[in-house]
């Protein structure tokens, strides 16, 4: 994949992630649960 296409993919995924967290019910909670799970494991 060319650098330009890769950066476009990154931008698209970032936008999709942010918009889904802000607008789709339950997505923010899902991400928070995953992040908490990560912290409980790795903060030890």
């Amino acid at each position: 994949m060319s650098l330009k296409n890769y950066l476009l993919l990154c931008a698209g995924l970032s936008l999709a992630t942010a918009v889904s967290i802000l607008l789709v019910p339950g997505v923010a909670q899902l991400f928070e649960t995953l992040i908490l799970g990560f912290l409980f494991v790795f903060a030890n």
Binding site: L13, T17, I21
Partner: protein, 181 residues
């Protein structure tokens, strides 16, 4: 070379999505009246301010989490609460690991700052002064409360000694939620 590029690109995407998610959630919550599960919120605004005699904090024995705002930063978080001898305490664990200190930065802020805080339980806000307790027999009651509420409910002398050792070694920080003078 191509395989390395693809691996690095995939790794970049794997790091990017959690980073974007964390930044979005942090920004989204920053000005809310209260925290989310994992991210700090803003100043605690709603709820009546408690005025009057000091409560007997044993009523928190059945309450899992409370909302705590640090006045210095105006940010709030969800936190466990312990009670012992009629006083209330909060704990911050993982204080000796990199991720722990990053996650629990509020404890460093409380310890190094003024320690002024606002606690919200249900619809009531309590103005408090956070005082870190480093050692002493007072910690036995706090350790028992931690075991009873958050570690399966079995309270033994060995368990209390183990939790107290964690506190006195600095791995877990305990703050008393003292009344403001």
């Amino acid at each position: 070379m191509k395989a390395l590029t693809i691996t690095l690109q995939a790794l970049g995407l794997l790091l990017l999505i959690p980073a974007v998610a964390m930044a979005t959630l942090r920004i989204e919550n920053a000005n809310n009246d209260g925290p989310s599960i994992a991210f700090p919120g803003g100043t605690l605004v709603s709820g009546e301010l408690h005025i009057g005699p000091e409560p007997d904090w044993r009523f928190t024995g059945d309450i899992d989490t409370v909302e705590l705002e640090l006045v210095d930063s105006g940010s709030s978080r969800l936190i466990w609460i312990q009670d012992a001898n009629g006083k209330a305490y909060i704990a911050s664990g993982y204080m000796q690991s990199f991720f722990g200190r990053l996650w629990k930065h509020w404890a460093v802020e409380a310890d190094q700052g003024s320690g002024l805080a606002v606690l919200r339980i249900g619809d009531t806000r309590y103005e408090r002064q956070l005082i870190r307790i480093h050692e002493g027999d007072e910690l036995d009651g706090v350790a028992a409360s931690i075991l009873r509420k958050y570690a399966g409910g079995t309270v033994t002398a060995e368990g209390i000694a183990a939790v107290r050792a964690q506190i006195e070694s600095g791995s877990t920080w305990i703050f008393e939620l003292a009344p403001r003078s």
